[in-house]
Each structure stands twice: as structure tokens, then as C-alpha cells.
Amino acid sequence: MTPAIRLAGLSYRFGDHAAVADLTLDVDPGECFGLLGPNGAGKTTTIRVINTMLPVQDGRVEVFGHDVRRQKMGVRRQLGYVPQQLSVEGALTGRENVSWFARLFDVPRRERKARVDEVLELVELGESADRLASTYSGGMVRRLELAQALVNRPRLLVLDEPTVGLDPVARDSVWQRVVDMQQRYDMTVLLTTHYMEEADVLCDRVALMHRGRLRALGAPEELKAALGPEASLEDVFRHHTGDSLGDAEKGGLRNVRATRRTARRMG
């Protein structure tokens, strides 16, 4: 079976700094896979290589058998992507934002309207779809982004810290939609988060990254069981890195502030 994602010896450097070092792993089709680690662990760089935003410097990356280095368009057609920042066009309505991406993914004209309505209903934005996105709350913007990412029915949904900056209710709401959609569309989900408890609940398998390197890989239950009956994923992280997630929390607060600045800028 062709893996949804295959990383073979992926390395990425920013000047002298190795952001990702010799990362090798497979993500199976249909699984929810979490890349975990604090800021600077290499999660976002890995995602940006997978989604073709950054070139493959060293190693090999495939998405459903498409070589990311040579078949960028083939890779992009399979993707739905939600970045860290809240990033919708505030001057358009929710419906127009989703229709825009339906066109950019060449959803056939005869299916477009139904597809847009379907994903807007799925993220429970049907009633506010004709309001300008600049009037949406942070949680609604995130759900709108999920609708944009899903309108092409991607085989791989990539979520980069999708709940940063959201309050607990909005976070639960976003994750609930992700779970619903994964079951409905039988998609592969690749997500990054530094909320270990969320990854524990959501992910079939996780990869713990620290300073660009893979430190542990497996199902959360297996990783925790290897440490003891009361172990948490955070304990697993500490065990494999000798570090706490203190840095991640600081980084998380920075991200929260950045995301809120973006939300304010949108109006």
C-alpha cells in the first residue's frame, strides 16, 4: 500500500541551523498523525516541505506516491492546508472565501455550489455564510479555513497548530469538526500541536520531534505504556528529550499573541 506521506532522510537547513535532520517516517492512508514538539522542533518546516512551500534540500518526500521535488502540482491537488495564522480574506463573505478555493482547486462548475454549501454546513457556518469574514470570531474563522481546506475533498488534510489562539470551547469545536470530517471523508490527517493532551486523544500515531530530530514514534498508548501506567505524553516527551515543554508554552503564548494580532488586523 502506498503511504499517504513518506519522508526518507529529510533534512532542511536555514543557513547553519539544521531545522530538520534526517527525518524518516511513513504516514498510513486514513490515519490521524501528529507531529509534536515545542517551537523550533522542526514541525512547521517539515509541513512546509510536504506542502511544497519549501524545496526538498536533502532526502526524499512523497505524498501518495507523488515526489514532492518533481511533482508539486500533483501533490498540491491532494492537499487541504490550514496554516497557523488565521488567514481568510476579511473583505469577502464566508461563502465567497470557500468558493474562491473551490475555483482554485478546479472543482467542476456543476458541483461547485453544492460542494461549497456542504462544507459550510459541515463546519456549521451555513447561517453566517453570507456575512463578511471580518465579522467572524476566531473560532469561526478557523472553521471557515477548514471549509476552504476541505472543499476539494483532499486526500491529505494538513493542519499546522490549528487551535493556537483559540479559547477552549473553540478548540474543542475545531477538533470535533476535524474528527467528523476524517470519518466522513476517510482522509489522512497530519497535524502539529504542542497541546499534548489534544494529540493524545486525537492521533492514531504521533512523532515526537526535538531540535529537528525524531525522538519517538508510535501510538500514544504504546509510548505511554512503555513508561508506566500513569505516564502522560508530556512524560514521554520529557523522557525522550530530557527537556520539559516550558519552551513550547512560551512559544505558544507568542503564537497566541501573533494570531490575535492577525485577527485584529482582519477587522
Binding site: N51, T52, M53, L54, H66, R70, Q71, K72, M73, G74, R76, R77, Q78, L79, Y81, P83, Q84, Q85, L86, S87, V88, E89, A91, L92, T93, E96, W100, F101, R103, L104, F105, D106, L132, Q148, N152, R153, P154, R155, Q183, R184, Y185, D186, M187, T262, R265, M266
Partner: protein
């Protein structure tokens, strides 16, 4: 209930040249539509941007018509000026388009656009022609104002269509120039400064306000390389019937827009990172 995924056809993997051409047309259409939707929701920018060209026509144009200081042959100065002001308003709309791209980068929208199956050149062309849509809306307002001021304009639909094409091509070039500069300077503040620094020289080193024959030799040479001069010449030829080489004007504008798309597309990844 599980819904079948849309598995992409094999031919979608890496598009052929013909498929890239279709993608280009489709993306240009998409970005133009989005621009029209933005304009529909917020007309304030359209209105505020109309003030300056009206001032140029009403204050500068009317005053210089009375002075008779600029020799324009048998053509009244206001008639001579109106096409130049249309080109100027399109230039002012387009030259700050790079700032919009930088804003889209900072807000994360550009990243999302770049991971859609849209070739970089198609994305830039789409944005550039979207600038053209905004410039056309601006040009229509200026044409109406000029007509109300008594400028003798053509109402031949084919010629008016030609005017819209010229405005779109001119705006597309200057929008690409702006995106190219954005790709070099990377920061909004720097681009704002450079945009302001080059706009007036581009305007004054063209035939928008006065005939090229009045210029000193060095300025004449710059004017010959300035796409704005060809845009103004074409607009004058189409709107008030002054002699010009329309093939040359359209050719220069199309070539400049194409070169602009290539240059801006080459720098888009640098801008995005």
C-alpha cells in the same frame, strides 16, 4: 457515512503546456472575480481614489486650458489631458499592489494560495489582471467625469473596449512591477517608500501631461522606455483620435505585462518565505 474522495486524474499530476494555458485563463478569471467581489463589498476605496483624478481634471486641466501654456495643436488641453489622467489613476491603483501581496503574506493568505494547484506565473497574472479590474472601475469613473466636463470622447463601443484592454494591460504591468519590487525589498514600509518615489517620476516622464516633443533629450529617452507613455498614446488614439501607432502601443504594453509576470513570478517564493 463515508464520502468517496476526489482522486485526481493522472493528467492533473504535472500539467502540459496546453493545460497550463487553461489554468492561466481560469486563475485570471478567478482572481478578477474575487477583486469584483471585494469592490462590491467596499466601494469606499473606489470613491476616495476618484477624488485625485477629478482634481487633476477640474483644477489642473481647467487652469492649464486657460493658460494655453502647453501646445497641443487643435486638441483642447482638457481633451488632451483626460487620457493621461485615466492612465495615471490606473498607475496609482496598480503601483501599490505589492503592498497587498505583502499583507497577504503576513496574514497567511499567500501561503494558502501558494499550496493550491496554481502555477506561480498564473497566480501573479491573476493578481495583475485583478489590479486591472480595479483600474477599469476607476477609469470608467474618470471617463464619465471627463464627459461631464465637456471632453469630446469617442462612444464607439469597439474603441471603448480597446480602452479597457489598454487600462488592464497597463495596470497589469505596474502591478507586476510593484510585486517584483515587493519580492526584492520584502517589507511593506520599504515598498511604500519606493512606490511613492517612483510613481511621480513615471508620471512626469511620460506624455500624460504634455507632448514628448517639449521634453529635454534625456527625458525624451526615458519617456520612450516608459510603458506609461505607450498606455497614454493608445488611450489618446482610441478616445480622442490623436494619431498613434496602436499596434506598437498594444505590443509594448503586452510585452511589458508579460515580462512583469515572469519577473514577479520568479520572486514570489522569495517573498513568501
Amino acid at each position: 457515512m463515508s464520502v468517496p474522495l476526489a482522486v485526481p486524474p493522472v493528467e492533473w499530476a504535472e500539467p502540459s503546456l496546453a493545460a497550463r494555458g487553461r489554468l492561466l485563463v481560469s486563475r485570471i478569471g478567478t482572481f478578477c472575480l474575487v477583486e469584483l467581489q471585494r469592490l462590491r463589498h467596499d466601494r469606499s476605496e473606489l470613491i476616495t481614489r476618484t477624488i485625485q483624478p477629478i482634481l487633476w481634471l477640474v483644477v489642473f486641466g481647467k487652469t492649464f486650458s486657460r493658460l494655453r501654456a502647453i501646445p497641443t495643436g487643435d486638441v483642447p488641453y482638457l481633451d488632451y489631458l483626460a487620457p493621461g489622467i485615466i492612465a495615471q489613476s490606473a498607475l496609482f491603483v496598480a503601483i501599490f499592489y505589492g503592498i497587498m501581496i505583502i499583507w497577504e503574506r503576513d496574514s497567511g493568505v499567500l501561503t494558502k494560495l501558494l499550496v493550491t494547484p496554481t502555477p506561480r506565473a498564473a497566480l501573479v497574472a491573476g493578481k495583475a489582471f485583478a489590479a486591472g479590474v480595479r483600474a477599469v472601475a476607476q477609469a470608467i469613473v474618470v471617463i464619465v467625469v471627463a464627459a461631464l466636463l465637456g471632453v469630446s470622447l469617442t462612444w464607439n463601443p469597439l474603441k471603448l473596449l480597446g480602452v479597457l484592454v489598454v487600462v488592464v494591460l497597463g495596470a497589469a504591468f505596474f502591478a507586476c512591477l510593484s510585486v517584483t519590487i515587493a519580492g526584492i525589498v520584502l517589507k511593506r514600509d520599504r515598498l511604500m517608500g519606493i512606490g511613492q518615489a517612483i510613481t511621480m517620476p513615471l508620471f512626469f516622464a511620460s506624455n500624460a501631461l504634455y507632448p514628448v516633443d517639449l521634453m529635454p533629450g534625456w527625458l525624451k529617452a526615458i519617456s520612450k522606455g516608459n510603458p506609461l507613455s505607450y498606455e497614454v498614446s493608445a488611450l489618446r488614439g482610441l478616445l480622442i483620435g490623436t494619431p498613434t501607432n496602436l499596434w506598437q502601443d498594444f505590443g509594448v504594453l503586452a510585452a511589458a505585462a508579460l515580462a512583469g509576470v515572469v519577473a514577479a513570478a520568479a520572486l514570489l517564493d522569495r517573498l513568501a518565505h
